[in-house]
């Protein structure tokens, strides 16, 4: 049990996918202007990442490793994740229209999200077992949502601050992201 706790802490804070690994930069900047969008995107990522983590872990263990085809990992994962997102979108539209209405516009964005791809590859590299992969993918996604929501809050405040003209908008956002990232590096000594 203790192992899982450590795993969770390390996935959420220490190896935060956005601020420590610096993956998923485009949604991090693109959907963090408003709290509302940030929350929507965060929830969609949690949902998709857990499913993608499981399915890529299964694909990897039962096909790629078995047939010694690990060198095809990247291309196979892209195919699997893209199909999965399409499938989930269709499923939600039919079966859970309320959830579809909430996550609808974010789902297609995740198809090409490097954070999702990155986590799937990390799970394999770290040689997690199934339960570990499940917990880790969920916690990485929670870390993603957490960082995104924190950042959206900061950006909403930046609007009210006096920013020198050359640094306005994206520049100040990147500077802020850097500082935020530094604060997350403080977790490094924890585990």
């Amino acid at each position: 049990m203790g192992d899982y706790f450590v795993l969770a802490i390390s996935s959420i804070f220490i190896n935060n996918i956005l601020l420590a690994q610096y993956l998923g930069n485009c949604p991090f900047l693109g959907t963090s202007k408003k709290m509302e969008t940030a929350v929507g995107m965060g929830m969609a990522v949690i949902f998709v990442l857990v499913m993608a983590g499981i399915i890529t872990w299964i694909t990897n263990t039962f096909f790629l490793v078995k047939f010694d085809l690990e060198y095809l990992r990247t291309v196979v994962f892209i195919l699997v994740i893209a199909s999965l997102v399409q499938f989930v979108e269709m499923f939600l539209k039919k079966s859970i229209p309320a959830l579809y209405a909430g996550l609808g516009i974010f789902l297609p964005l995740i198809t090409t999200n490097c954070a999702v791809m990155g986590v799937c590859l990390i799970l394999v590299n770290e040689e997690y077992n199934f339960m570990q992969a499940l917990v880790a993918s969920f916690c990485y996604a929670v870390g993603f949502a957490l960082a995104l929501i924190l950042f959206a809050g900061v950006r909403e405040r930046i609007l009210l601050a006096r920013v020198p003209t050359p640094l306005q908008d994206t520049s100040i956002a990147l500077v802020t992201a850097g500082i935020l990232s530094l604060t997350f590096f403080a977790f490094k000594g924890m585990v």
């Binding site: 694909t59 269709m90 539209k93 039919k94 516009i105 609007l159 009210l160 920013v163």
Partner: protein
């Protein structure tokens, strides 16, 4: 190598199979037009239309929630293509237009010096902004930055100006503006707006019962845009020619210039603009919203009914007006004499309103020729009752039914019918020594009519003094110039006749003014033993009038209609809906005898409620409604920077000429006088105004 190929083929095949099965299993029927419409949208997913992405916008278009012109990037081409898919005319969807309501800009004073970010959003968080005005433009141009069409620029006066030809109505500026000054509205939405406590309103605009945007139309006259001025007035008042002639202009009492100088002659300017349209021989086009197919019956073709019908028609509903008289116009046709409002002018004005596609049925009386039941059978979903106040109050004195005694409205109506149709039965024999009892506009109309009909001596008997007379001051002056005698502080007690039953004398008591009563006017008290006799041969009682509600008794479905003790229909002042939900009211039948402009404003308010009723929305009062109250901070004790300039004199026919005929006695301003008068306007807003240029 073989395994790799096999795996990829297998995986690809599996994914394809799963997805194709899923697309069958999880198939949701979608209107095929959604995909077609989406194809014509820009595909940029910019969100400028207010929907999350182009797909959502396409769904909204197909659901009828968004107009074909929804895509702000695609422009008119996209709108035309989408409209073709939807099978509608792209022109029929109402265009949204952005409008800046603040005229403050640099002239609004700063309450502190601001050195922060150059953004209105940030500034608004600091005590609501640096400007003294709590609602005004902050002038840092967040709206300009938000507009991707370059349709807003900073004007020379320090507030943003919308370039109408470039605006697509995307609403980005409305969202960007922290002060709600930039508003994106369709024409219908503008027609349904009412004065609100937090709006940018000049004192005149707060006072006008019809809520006309007075500073705007005066500014348009000043810049020579007479057509624009007419359109501005028509957004609130369809009877501009009539009001330009007969309105007692309560707005002028609150004119800010009037605090230090004579007020601007607002009403003469209205008449000036309105007359230009009429004299030009063509009508400026009046846009209407697309037809809704909902039918409304308007009972009473007077100012309230015409106003209500006009606004409902512009909102796209089908309207039929029913009137008991042979022609539409109500009290302004039959109560206001020819010399104040020529019938030719009124006919031109009413024709313009009916031209919008309003049907009318005249010579039909509610309760006798049709009732609620027959209206429902014909498919009318809502009914507006604006039957006016046609029933004269009685003197309740002995002898008032003698031959030669008449009541005010009855006299004016009969005379008007006789004058308009020449029917002999409506001809009234005119006496030599005539007396009119009363101090209101009806009394003045009666005396001025009698003078023109050749009565030798015409007097007004009124129980208070000239100061308390409710009639318009200009009318009282005009009557005096025309030779009318006034007997103030005289209360009639008895009418005396001869053996043939003809009126010969009027007995009255002299009065003196006592303590103020509920209306704030000093109450007249009789002086004991002051009975005086006056020789007369014609008497008209014009002491007020109320609605004739006899139709309530004639129609069983109106049994429950609640009527006040003043015999008016009871309704909420905000929504004007009676206790029977489909019946709405306004005008004199709701307020009791009142002003034309009051009826016009009421007609529009009722039109709003009927529109909400028909579109099955909840009929809520206007939020933060001002309803003729004033905004305290906009009323000043003193006004700085005013250099007195004489008010334009109303041109009128010479007295000797006008008492001989019913030719219109008040004339229209000359163009140069009108422009000079428009220059006198301070272009006020809530607390800002333009001081006179030549005063430092």
């Amino acid at each position: 190598m073989i395994e790799a190929l096999l795996l990829m083929l297998g995986l690809g095949g599996t994914c394809a199979a799963v997805l194709s099965i899923a697309s069958r299993v999880f198939y949701v029927w979608e209107d095929p037009r959604i995909a077609e419409v989406e194809g014509f949208l820009a595909g940029a997913n910019c969100g400028g239309c207010g929907y999350p992405g182009c797909a959502a916008a396409a769904v909204a278009v197909v659901d009828g929630k968004a107009p074909p012109s929804v895509c702000m990037v695609g422009g008119p081409e996209s709108a035309a293509n989408v409209a073709a898919v939807m099978g509608v005319d792209p022109g029929s969807a109402e265009a949204l237009r952005s409008l800046n309501t603040c005229l403050g800009g640099h002239r609004a004073e700063d309450k502190y010096h601001y050195l922060g970010v150059q953004s209105c959003g940030a500034l608004a968080n600091m005590f609501g902004g640096k400007r003294v005005c709590s609602i005004g433009c902050l002038g840092l141009g967040d709206c300009i930055k938000s507009c991707i069409f370059d349709a807003i620029k900073m004007g020379p006066d320090g507030y943003p100006v919308v370039i109408e030809s470039k605006c697509v109505g995307c609403g980005a500026c409305e969202k960007a503006c922290p002060k709600n000054i930039l508003t994106v509205r369709t024409m219908s939405e503008r027609l349904l707006e009412f004065n609100q406590e937090d709006a940018a309103l000049a004192p005149c605009r707060q006072t006008c019962p019809a809520e006309i945007n007075i500073p705007q139309y005066i500014a348009q006259i000043r810049s020579g845009d007479y057509e624009g001025a007419v359109h501005t007035i028509r957004e609130r008042n369809p009877l501009l020619l009539s009001c330009g002639r007969v309105c007692p202009h309560p707005c002028e009492d609150y004119c800010r210039r009037g605090i230090e100088d004579e007020p601007v002659s607002i009403n003469q300017l209205k008449r000036f603009a309105a007359d230009i349209e009429m004299d030009s021989g063509k009508r400026y086009p009046i846009p209407c919203a697309p037809d809704t197919g909902r039918e409304v019956a308007v009972i009473g073709g007077g100012p309230a009914g015409l106003s209500c019908a006009y606004f409902l028609r512009r909102l796209g509903h089908s309207v039929t007006i029913f009137d008991m008289m042979p022609e539409l116009g109500g009290m302004i046709r039959y109560g206001i004499p020819e010399y104040r409002l020529p019938k030719k002018v009124l006919e031109w004005e009413i024709e313009g309103i009916l031209n919008l596609g309003i049907e009318s049925r005249t010579n039909v009386r509610f309760g006798r020729d049709f009732d609620m039941h027959s209206l429902a059978e014909e498919g009318f979903e809502a009914v507006f009752i604006g039957v006016g106040a046609w029933s004269d109050y009685r003197l309740k004195a002995e002898g008032e039914d003698l031959e030669g005694c008449y009541t005010g409205i009855d006299f004016l109506t009969k005379y008007a019918i006789n004058q308009q149709t020449g029917q002999e039965i409506y001809k009234i024999p005119i006496g030599r020594k005539c007396v009119v009892i009363g101090g209101g506009n009806t009394a003045i109309d009666c005396v001025r009519t009698l003078i023109r009909l050749g009565a030798e001596e015409v007097s007004i008997v009124y129980r208070r003094t000239r100061k308390e007379m409710p009639a318009n001051a200009v009318e009282i002056d005009a009557a005096e110039h025309e030779g009318v005698k006034f007997h103030f502080l005289a209360a009639p007690v008895r009418v005396i006749g001869d053996e043939q039953g003809r009126v010969t004398q009027l007995e009255y008591l002299e009065m003196k003014l006592g303590e103020p009563d509920a209306s704030g006017r000093r109450r007249p008290v009789p002086i004991e033993g002051s009975e005086t006799l006056m020789n007369i041969d014609m008497l008209i009682t014009a002491i007020g009038q109320g609605p004739d509600m006899s139709f309530v008794k004639e129609d069983s479905s109106l049994e429950d209609l609640s009527v006040t003790r003043w015999n008016t229909i009871e309704a909420d002042p905000e929504i004007l809906q009676s206790n029977i939900p489909k019946i709405f009211t306004a005008g004199d039948s709701y307020t009791g005898a009142s002003l034309v402009i009051e009826a016009i404003g009421g007609g529009r308010r009722a039109a709003r409620a009927i529109h909400l009723y028909l579109t099955e929305e909840e009929i809520k009062p206007v939020p933060k409604s001002l309803l003729k109250k004033h905004i305290p901070e906009s009323l000043f004790e003193h006004v700085e920077g005013i250099k007195p300039k004489a008010r334009a004199k109303m041109p009128e026919l010479p007295v000797t000429e006008r008492i001989k005929s019913f030719a219109e006695s008040d004339l229209v301003l000359q163009q140069k006088d009108a422009l000079a008068e428009a220059e006198r306007c301070l272009n006020c807003c809530r607390i800002c105004y333009d001081p006179d240029a030549d005063v430092a």
